[in-house]
Every structure is written in C-alpha cells, then in structure tokens.
Symmetry: C2
Subunit: 355 residues, 2 copies
C-alpha cells in the first residue's frame, strides 16, 4: 500500500466536466488540492479547482507539466487516449489503474473479462466481418444488437438486428469498426452498484440504486432499489469480484440487470458514476469523496445510507424548472454549464425521502 497523500497534496483530474467538479469539491473537504486537465475552455470543474490546464490530450508539453505538478492522477471519463496515459504514467501514479481502463474501453474485452470471472453477461460474440456476424447471429439468435467495440454512447455506433435478414446492412452501420454482437436480456429493471476499493484492498459498496433511462440517458436513480436481500448481497459480491480482479483503486459504477435467473452484468465504468449521485444526500461520505479517499491512499469512509433518495437528472430544458425546484425541499446540484442544450446533463436533484 502506498502512503496516504498528506493534506495539501494535489490530485490531477483528467476531464473537467461535472464529475471532475464534484470530485474537486470532495477533495477540498480532505484538504487536498486539484489540478484539472481539460481540452475545452470554461470547464465546469474549473470553478472549484486549485488549477486548470486547458489543453488537448495530444499536447505533450501540457501533459508533462500537468503530470509533474500533481501527486496522483485520476479521471472522470474512461476514453482517455492511450498516448496520454503512456506519457502520464511515468510522472505520477494513475488510479484507477490501466487494467480497468483497458478492460472497460473495449466492449469485447469487458464482456470476456466478466465471463471469465464467472459472472453472467448478455450472450455476446466477436464480429469482424460478414462471416463472423452470421456465425454470431446463428449462435445468439435475434433480436440482438451490434455495437462497436470501442467508443459510442447514447445509441451511437449501434445497430439493432431484429431478424437475420437485417445482418446485411449492419456492418455498414459500424463503418468497418471491430464490433460485438450482444443478445437481448429479458430483465425487469436495471440497478447499479457503486463500489469502492482502497489502496489497502478494502472494499465498500453503496446500497444498489434502481435506474430509469429515457432516450438512452439516465433519468432517475431510486434508492433503495427493488431487490431481494439475496440480490443485494449478490450485487455487492459481483462488484467486489470485479474490483479485486482488477486490483482496482477508486470508485466504480457497475450496471446490473435484474432477471428471474439472477443478476446480469451490463457494464462497468471505472469512475464515479451518475447513478451514484444520490450518495451526496443519502450518505455521510459520498461517492466523490470515497473516490478521492481511495486514490489518495486514505482509508475508505462510511458509505452507509442514512436516507432514502430519489435522484433526478436535469437535462437540457429541465433547467426551466429550476425556479420551482428551488422552492421544494430537494437538494440541487448544478454543474455550472453555460448553455442548456438538448440532452445535456445540466445538474441533478436529490430528493430525500423522509420517514
């Protein structure tokens, strides 16, 4: 185990969006400074950071200066260019580590990793050309969904294959990128577990939350989720198995489908997660502070839930409701983004459910 970072040390954060912003605030509570690296100007995290570097991930000079100015590096998004990581890892420790990044950046690697751990996933198969696609459809059946192995979100880089005849068009939709075919899962609802693992190997998980999406974007997370006690235990064990297998340090979001046949792992994100925002008002130590504690080598904090919470994302024009929301007893968390574009996450509210 590395020595805990002393008060006054600096945490470098790759990415200056809302997750970086809330990580930065959490770091301040522990007397730690943050330095944000973000290509876009006026980063939300910049308002609450000790320092901000505005530069591209291809800017080796800026990356080097950043890496030399910080004591540890973490990140708020998983698609960090490999070249940037190669440069930075010689300058400061990166947590969570590269195994987690490499695994989660590639859907085929991720699913294979999960299956090799003995966890249930949707049926999947590697697709590199028309022959392997036809073989995959024969194995998995339809309906199924073809996804690029890397990148893609909110339905981009995906093609639904409702019947074998749809296969002909699908590779064109992928534009020749390596892909994965995934079978559909018949689930009643989606939950997620926010797990944390400290530098000492200690694991702590928050109570699972139940997620509702709209148009591919998380709309609400409700805690507690509808689950049996056995399912809750399973969810925590699944998260712990993933965290330990990756020798992970930090907070991870694990999305699970609840089915009659048990919990099926959808995917994990090697970072704080939107479905964990409820912890800010439901727990003494929120996911952001838990992540900072982990990457700083501090002991994990108390993540037990003191209140039930419904978290609702404020997306785009939801911001028009702000004057009314401010009059309620909801806790408001805004990200300081200038313009409320459609589909853009502008903030969230946590409604604490009182006994």
């Amino acid at each position: 185990m590395t020595k805990p970072l002393p008060v006054g040390a600096t945490i470098g954060i790759l990415g200056g969006g809302q997750l970086g912003r809330m990580l930065s605030v959490a770091a301040s509570r522990l007397g730690l400074k943050t330095h944000i690296f973000e290509p876009e100007a006026n980063a939300p995290a910049g308002d609450v950071a000790h320092k901000v570097t505005t530069a591209d991930y291809e800017d080796a000079v800026a990356l080097r200066a950043f890496g030399q100015s910080v004591d540890v590096i973490t990140y708020e998004f998983e698609n960090i260019p490999t070249s940037a990581l190669d440069l930075l890892e010689s300058l400061a420790p990166i947590h969570p580590g590269r195994a987690a990044l490499a695994t989660s950046q590639d859907r085929l690697t991720e699913k294979t990793f999960l299956r090799d751990l003995g966890l249930q996933t949707a049926p999947f198969a590697d697709v590199t050309d028309m022959d392997s696609l036809n073989a995959a459809i024969a194995e998995i059946g339809t309906p199924a969904i073809l996804k690029t192995r890397r990148m893609g979100y909110d339905g981009k880089g995906q093609a639904r294959i409702m019947a074998p005849d749809d296969a002909a068009q699908a590779p064109a939709d992928m534009q020749g990128a390596p892909a994965i075919l995934e079978g559909f899962v018949d689930f009643s609802h989606e939950v997620s577990v926010i797990g944390a693992r400290g530098a000492d190997g200690a694991v702590a998980c928050y109570d699972p939350g139940e997620n509702v999406h709209e148009a591919g974007i998380l709309r609400t997370t409700t805690v507690p989720a509808r689950m049996t006690a056995a399912q809750r235990t399973d969810a925590v064990l699944i998260a712990a198995r993933i965290l330990n297998a990756l020798d992970y340090v930090g907070v991870m979001g694990v999305e699970l489908f609840v089915t009659p046949g048990g919990l099926i792992v959808n995917e994990f994100a090697p970072r704080v997660h939107n479905s964990g925002h409820w912890t800010q008002n439901g727990c003494t130590i929120c996911q952001f502070e838990q992540h900072i504690r982990a990457v700083a080598g501090w002991p994990l904090g108390d993540g037990s839930r003191h209140s039930d919470v419904v978290m609702e994302n404020l997306i785009g024009e939801d911001m028009d409701r702000l004057p009314d929301l401010a009059k309620t007893d909801a806790a408001i968390h805004l990200y300081g983004k200038a313009e409320a574009k459609p589909g853009r996450k502008m903030g969230h509210v946590n409604r604490v459910v009182k006994a």
Copy 2:
C-alpha cells in the same frame, strides 16, 4: 424582493478563510461562481473559487475591480473596514446589510439593540471613564467583565473585575478604548441557533446546538442541545426577532445562555457560524448553502435535521489525529491551511449519531 441571481452569476465574498471556502463550495452546487477578496496569500477559499483577489481592504482600485466583477457581495467575518463597505455598496448589493454589521461590530450597540427588542441580555453599562466605570460597577455589581466595544476576541481586550477594587486598573487594560461592563450570567450551558432569512422575508432556523468552549475557542457543538421544547421554541423566536428587526438577508449565528430564568442572548454573528458546521452532515441543506441561497435571492432550502451530529473542531495539533480520524466513520472537513499553529482552526469533524 430582488430577482434571484441566475445560474452563472458571481457572488463576491469578503474574506478567504474556511467560512469563505465552504460558502464557495455551496455556491458551486447552485451553479454560482465565487470571487474571493482576501488580503492574505494562499487563502483557503482560493482552492475552490472561480477567482481570487489578493489585496488589502485599503486598496480602492482592487476593491472597485472586485465590486464591479460580482453580482452580490457577502462576507465571512464582521470586522470589515467601514471605508471598504462605503466603496463597495455603490457597486453591488451587500448582504447581510450594513445595519447588521454596524450592530454586531459594537458590543454596546448590539446589547442595546437586543434589549430594545425585548430580549434578555447580561446586565451591561456604557463605560467611557473612571466615573462611568464606578457607576457601572455600582449598578451591575461584581464579578463583571470590562470589554472594549469593538474588536477583541479570545479574551483579548477584556478585563475581569472580581471586586470593586479591581476597577482602578481596568481602564488601563482597555488602553482608553470605549468599553462596556457586562455582568456575569449564571447559565447551565450555551447553545446557538443558526437562523436564516431570505430576500422574501422568509425565516428558517436550524435546530439549536449545544456548544462547549475550551480556552475561549469553540471545541464541540452537539445537536440536539439539551433544551426543553419551550426553550427550543424560544430560541427560534429570538433568532427570528433579531433577523426581522435588521431586515436581514443571509445566515446568522445567535449564541444563547440557557438559564432557569429563560434564554439570555450572548451575541450574534452576521454570517455563517462555526457552531453551524454540523448542518453539513445533519441536514439536506447546510448553513453555507442556506446563506448562498439567501444572498442570491433564492428561496431558502430544507434545513430540517435528518441526523443527530457531534461537531468537533480540529485545532492546531489536533491535526496529528487525522490518520486515526480518517479510519472512523466521521465526516472530515479540512480547510487547506498549510501550517497547524496552536489555536488555529484547521478543520472539523462531524460525527453522525446513528439510531
């Protein structure tokens, strides 16, 4: 009522210590930026602020630039030079207003104001010279305490008069400054109420906390305080009377002595208060956000208590206990101060008491 500040607006904060730091974090949750004005370099609030101006309160150019860059001005300490306020008030609204500042800056004005409101205070009398001191002692009796009307803290600028014979030396201790003689109050314990008043005149008070001091510095605040239901109601009514009389906008800390004859007002501070730090882990909306909401013209938030809390200040060498504290389930709040000098407030911990 003024219009609520829009998201993206800037709150100017006079003073960059821990209170400014926690106000700045609270502002970020509401999508508001902060600009800190602080004479000392490396201000704790600077780590989490959009902008920091490091300049003296006599620097009219810096003050003017600051005042022109912000939408509203608030402060984290009450002894702001009058000349700075005179300059700033022409540039942006100042909340809480100058009536509260003028009243709380002068012990005689404060006590007179409280008495005129019909509230109980310690017996007091104006002291300008030896004759008025002797008259005050004859009226109030001994033991009593002579204090300068302005400034002074932690026992500085004070002289105890245990018997009438002590009077001869006392004015010398005051170095000729205008003073006030205060009689002793026989109280069982001290409590404080953190009250808030919005721009719309709405008043909300947090549950009273019970304070323990050591060497003149707050050591712990425990919530709930030992009080009867009637005393709790009285405490809230007292705070509301003060807030309304001053047409106050913002959060105020009111210190009260609990006595068999009722609650006696010790003093009030026109700002967020150390004895309100427990609200960070006991309420959905903490005192810092409540203050920001008020000065930004937003509706007050939900200050009801979801948990019992014991707040303990970390003073000077208390920081040596940090590694052990980090292993407990306490919520840690550090101020980012470089050096742990004796008597210096370095942070605090909130211990949530579980049912």
